[in-house]
Symmetry: C2
Subunit: 421 residues, 2 copies
Amino acid sequence: MGRTPEPSADRQVETHAPAAFAFLDRLVQQASLLGAEHGAQAVLADELNRLGFDLEWISIDPGICNEPDAGVPTVSYEGRRVLVGRRGDWSSTGRYRSLLINGHLDVVPVGSSEQWSAEPFRPTYTPDGRLIGRGAGDMKAGFAMVTLALDALGVTCPQSHEWPLCVVGAIEEECTGNGTLASIRAQVIADGVLLPEPTALAISLSGIGVLWIDVVAKGSSRHAGESDGVNALDALGPIIRGLERLSAELNRDAQPAGADRRETYRVNVGLLRAGDWHSNVPGEARMGIRFGFPSNWTLEESENCIREQISAIAAADAWLCRHPPVVSLAGLRATGYTMSEQDEFVGTFAQAHRETHGASPVMTGFDSTTDARFYRNRLDLPTLCYGPTAHGIHAPDEAVELRSIVDGARTLTRAIPAWIQ
Amino acid sequence: MGRTPEPSADRQVETHAPAAFAFLDRLVQQASLLGAEHGAQAVLADELNRLGFDLEWISIDPGICNEPDAGVPTVSYEGRRVLVGRRGDWSSTGRYRSLLINGHLDVVPVGSSEQWSAEPFRPTYTPDGRLIGRGAGDMKAGFAMVTLALDALGVTCPQSHEWPLCVVGAIEEECTGNGTLASIRAQVIADGVLLPEPTALAISLSGIGVLWIDVVAKGSSRHAGESDGVNALDALGPIIRGLERLSAELNRDAQPAGADRRETYRVNVGLLRAGDWHSNVPGEARMGIRFGFPSNWTLEESENCIREQISAIAAADAWLCRHPPVVSLAGLRATGYTMSEQDEFVGTFAQAHRETHGASPVMTGFDSTTDARFYRNRLDLPTLCYGPTAHGIHAPDEAVELRSIVDGARTLTRAIPAWIQ
């Protein structure tokens, strides 16, 4: 067994694929929505245990929200922890470079379940080789890709059990990032960080800034038959339109995000609640907005920008100037991040991909965020996202192409030894 | 004791007012929201019992929704009944004309409780003589006005206990009318019908048509960072605007609703729900609309009008034409109703008001509906609304002027004997 285990590893990846798919099936069965992540973490814990990892559960201190880059939690952290698995020789003798693999087990809500062709948490397989299920693509398949590669390497490179590997099973990636942040505060770090997010086997090196904002507008509630009510929904209208104008302006001057693309900042009214009775004029309307910002802005700049824009909208509106909307942050407070394409870590993965697939990987970035930002912005660690091909992320019938898990694992059987050894 | 007990009755009304206010206080303490009406009915039952009424509880057959003028129920009728109290001589000897007093004990939701200056179901008194509480005005105070008049008449006209009186304590007036409808199907009727709704001591003789419509629009859910999502909220926009245009058209040609006023038809988005995650594009948005129609339209005309308008909006919209919104009726299916000012029943109440207050009552109508429609449209019974002065109906800090309860009761001590005897 030498430094070129590739052909044999490819065969081992194929051999172990059914087991990896079964692991993914078990993961998808766990409805690991916000606050209910433990079941999926337990499935991952079993798998890591089988692979010889030592497990650790890291608590999330409620005081984490005082960290300058923490998200704003909306659910208690009591009994909710981050799973960390560690394997191999972590002594600082310089023999190996360590690798941290960070994935999240939390999934976003299913939305309208009748828009799904299958039960969101009952894995369903399509004739063209996809697994449908909430979280299948984002990002449970990434864990299967990693464990599949480790199983293959376990056969082709028995010494791989000595390699300093760490797997983080995070929570709240989708809403705060505080799970990964807690693990970093607990010194769970390494020489390089892979996030097997669904990139369709591209290498993603950047993310934009993202803020979640809650806006509550007041109306003047009345019987619907009366003349002098003010519908709080109408009060929200100018705010939505104003934020859309702001977003359009930001996009006009968007940051470059690589050789052939620019960042795109989207504003999304992700939830809206108003009223509770057909014949009552709603006296209050609440909306939850996701706002994308340039990656070179600080959190302070982003927050100020949003607040100033809403204040300006309110000042110019006859109703809102007397009934100013209440703006608060809830959830993501994410700054943008970038990673150089020239970095050796990136080069290692690009080369492994090339060797495996016969072509250079696409180098890209997200017009959203990932937990990679903490490793980049806090620690300047080499960090990239590389993972399977997903469809309908955050949408009904979210799915992953099972073949892409195998293809990604084949890359990893080359990239991991190349980085570590 | 002769046919003119007025001055003495006025004194008795004043004497019994504190007890009537205490009864109202007990009624308001009962949070008789949709599905939870029984507590308030029990308070009324005790009061009717004290006044010598025989009580009956009328079940609501789930099949009631097949009646052509029934509302569309949203809550099971199991264990929910209509209270009927009956007193006096109901033999058909022609000695007396009977009177039915119909009120509803259900109240609408409180909306944003932080917009209240007091707990909505903890009666609170203001220095200027108002009682604040959800349902205080609409229409629990009407019951207090009636029992106050009956207490006074019990002293000044002992024979009043022989008068054929019936009190209906209805439920679901605010959303279907099916409580009153069930009582009518059980033959709870009389020669004249008073609804002590809050009219500020005006006589209200008409109501417009009102439909409740639920509209569900589809979007195309995505991760908020992706380009090809369609926000279901944006899909609702053209529908809301189209219904507002329709309403404006109807108002241009509004029906006369009496000598000096025309009907007004308002469209109200009373509730809206979309999405559940800031970073997901909502794939579905639901809104509940209250739509006012001309009082001379049939239910079929109204329903067709709404459905055709929404179909036309959808046909003209690039997204909606391929993803037609789902329209359903839930709740009120109310046709308009009118009552002639020249009717003897109306004249009796007008004369009693004049004698009591020294001026003719305002004759008006509602730009909304009441359960009066069933007595008018099904049975052609003389029916009117006359009751206390309320503020903020369906709004935060709903209140009733306590003095108006006394003033209204004074009118009733003249109107009731004048009608019955």
